[in-house]
């Protein structure tokens, strides 16, 4: 069995995030990290494998579309337990929206496949879209379910549970399938130092648009279905107060609440 895990590189929590007015794209300076939601997808793949059964012999491939530097994020995925990794990187991919990103990832998944299961995180913390899995699944002609909070493999099916607006839904998807997982499905492990060292020796392949047989007009800015027209400031909001707890935090909260007649 082969499992692919799509992982994105995103700005770290300490990096002020902003768009470039000229390119209309997110500025990617400063620390870039593995999208924390995708660590749950990696962990889900590892747990499926450890659970034995259909996935006992699974190989896990981490796939990322991003700039050259995103190989760091794939190193992290390898340290977490992926067997190999693919970086989809090419200047022609810059400016890809969800549709164009899904096309690039689908091409990489087909080229490195066939995969029985493609796992994704619940959302990318920089784009907060959570619809990419649906687009990707359609391009792969596979069934999809997003936001799984429980996931099992057996008898050639992925059985899962997920929260919808109506309650918890049970679904079963015949493999190959595409599943995104909720951040409550598991607690990701921390890689041991040994695993971090071992990751450096694992295969990490870089693929460009030509390697994937993609027409450059279908990806990047050229192949995107959406266009950013402009940026506008958010609705104004009065700034709040933030303090460090030095032992008096609880007192300060009570004072604040009393000031607003809330206690």
């Amino acid at each position: 069995m082969k499992i692919a895990v799509c992982v994105k590189e995103v700005p770290g929590a300490n990096v002020p995030r902003r768009h470039d007015d000229a390119t209309k794209r997110l500025v990617r300076d400063g620390d870039q990290v593995l999208n924390s939601y995708d660590a749950h997808a990696m962990e889900a793949a590892l747990q499926l494998k450890e659970a034995g059964g259909d996935a006992a012999d699974a190989t896990i491939t981490a796939i990322c579309m991003g700039p050259e530097g995103a190989s760091r994020t794939l190193q992290k995925a390898l340290a977490l337990g992926a067997d190999d990794a693919v970086l989809v990187t090419d200047p022609a991919l810059e400016g890809s929206d969800i549709l164009a990103t899904a096309r690039a990832l689908a091409a990489a998944i087909v080229k490195q496949g066939p995969f029985d299961l493609v796992l994704l995180g619940q959302q990318a913390s920089d784009s907060d879209c959570w619809v990419l899995p649906g687009v990707l699944a359609e391009l792969l002609e596979a069934p999809v379910a997003t936001q799984a909070s429980k996931l099992e493999l057996s008898g050639g099916n992925a059985s899962l549970e997920r929260q919808t607006e109506l309650g918890y839904e049970k679904l079963s998807l015949s493999l190959p399938a595409v599943v995104s997982v909720s951040d409550a499905i598991n607690t990701p492990r921390y890689p041991a130092l040994k695993a971090i060292m071992a990751a450096k020796k694992k295969p990490l392949e870089k693929l460009g648009v030509a390697d994937l047989g993609l027409d450059a007009a279908t990806v990047g800015t050229a192949g995107s279905g959406t266009i950013v027209v402009a940026f506008a400031p958010p609705p104004a909001k009065a700034g709040g107060v933030k303090i460090e707890d030095d032992g008096s935090g609880a007192d300060k909260i009570v004072e604040f609440l009393a000031g607003r007649n809330l206690v």
């Binding site: 995030r17 902003r18 768009h19 929206d97 969800i98 549709l99 899904a102 959570w130 619809v131 899995p133 649906g134 687009v135 699944a137 359609e138 391009l139 002609e141 069934p143 999809v144 379910a145 997003t146 909070s149 997920r162 929260q163 919808t164 607006e165 109506l166 309650g167 918890y168 839904e169 049970k170 679904l171 079963s172 998807l173 015949s174 909720s182 409550a184 499905i185 995107s224 279905g225 959406t226 266009i227 950013v228 027209v229 940026f231 506008a232 400031p233 958010p234 709040g240 107060v241 933030k242 303090i243 460090e244 707890d245 935090g249 609880a250 007192d251 909260i253 609440l257 809330l262 206690v263």
Partner: protein, 320 residues
């Protein structure tokens, strides 16, 4: 040509989020001078279609359309039948899967989590708060012929359209794409019993920072000291620590108490949309970068296990 709305429904009624989207669709249709068309799919679609206030309402009834695979086929057929210029839907878990599939099938752009849409210079432009609501991205579509794209809207973006005279409804002929479909294995209904957190003036919101169900007495005690109730995040509910009926946010409830104290909650956008209109927001979180501090009126960076018990005691002492 038309504006097409993907309508969600349950137990014979239109989902509130879809009524909001229908309202936005109605305005957009008048601005663009085209009719408003709706699609209702899944078991019971025919009955629901008879209540939808759109100019034309298609229905695709039957179990096949209950899951995303059938939904994509139905929506693709509706786009074709209606000559849709844009597809609008609520940003729900199921419509994400269906509209994502449509975007992939037809090769069109998809814009999620928008809060408004307008018709400008012959094209559609949607506003989408981005980067933790620090900027609004105005986003249009590159395709100018036929279907230009898909927009999903945040819950609560629009006032629900009044149920007025329903449009003419007709059964939609849906070709089977032959995609392997998801097998629906049932729905565990949201617990309807218990307290209704939307009625409470004070809510203590508890997030994954609580560490486990065994620690919830901390927030229950604090809520009691304030005469309020406990609310939760999806991370807490998905992990099975607390009741689904207490969840606040995009997939959960929308609340607007006088006071919301967020304890061990990061403040993800999907949580924020359910509680941002609270009168006063207080946050306790050990991570000074947590997004919750961007919209809290008063934030304390610190350990909840220290602060919450102290806070409860001080409140109890005040009451005397």
């Amino acid at each position: 040509m038309s504006i097409l709305v993907f309508v969600e429904h349950h137990d014979g009624t239109i989902a509130p989020i879809s009524l909001g989207v229908l309202g936005a669709g109605r305005e957009l249709a008048s601005a663009a001078g085209v009719p408003l068309v709706a699609l209702v799919a899944g078991p019971g679609a025919e009955q629901v279609a008879g209540t939808v206030p759109a100019d034309t309402v298609y229905h695709a009834a039957g179990d096949r359309f209950q899951v995303a695979a059938g939904g994509v086929d139905a929506l693709a057929a509706a786009v074709e039948a209606a000559g849709a210029r844009v597809v609008l839907a609520g940003a729900s878990v199921n419509s994400a899967d269906v509209t994502g599939g449509l975007a992939g099938r037809l090769g069109v752009g998809i814009n999620t989590d928008a809060t408004s849409i307008s018709f400008e210079d012959g094209g559609f432009v949607a506003d989408r708060p981005s980067l933790e609501d620090s900027v609004v991205v105005r986003c249009g579509f590159s395709k100018t012929e036929g279907l230009s794209g898909i927009v999903l809207f945040r819950a609560g973006s629009f006032t629900p359209l009044e149920l007025a005279a329903p449009g003419a409804s007709e059964a939609l002929d849906v070709a089977d794409s032959g995609r392997r479909a998801q097998q629906f294995g049932g729905l565990e209904q949201a617990a309807t019993g218990g307290v209704d957190i939307t009625k409470s003036d004070v809510l203590v919101g508890a997030g994954r920072g609580l560490g486990g169900p065994e620690n919830f007495n901390l927030v229950e005690d604090l809520a009691k000291a304030l005469g309020g109730e406990v609310a939760t995040t999806r991370a807490v509910v998905d992990a099975g620590w607390y009741e689904y009926s207490t969840q606040v946010g995009q997939t959960g409830k929308t609340v607007a108490p006088k006071l919301y104290i967020a304890v061990g909650i990061s403040g993800a956008i999907q949580h924020k949309v359910g509680m941002a209109s609270s009168g006063t927001i207080v946050a306790i979180n050990k991570d000074s970068h947590a997004p919750i501090f961007d919209f809290a009126d008063f934030g304390v960076v610190g350990d909840l296990f220290t602060i919450v018990p102290q806070l409860k005691d001080k409140l109890a002492a005040r009451k005397g």
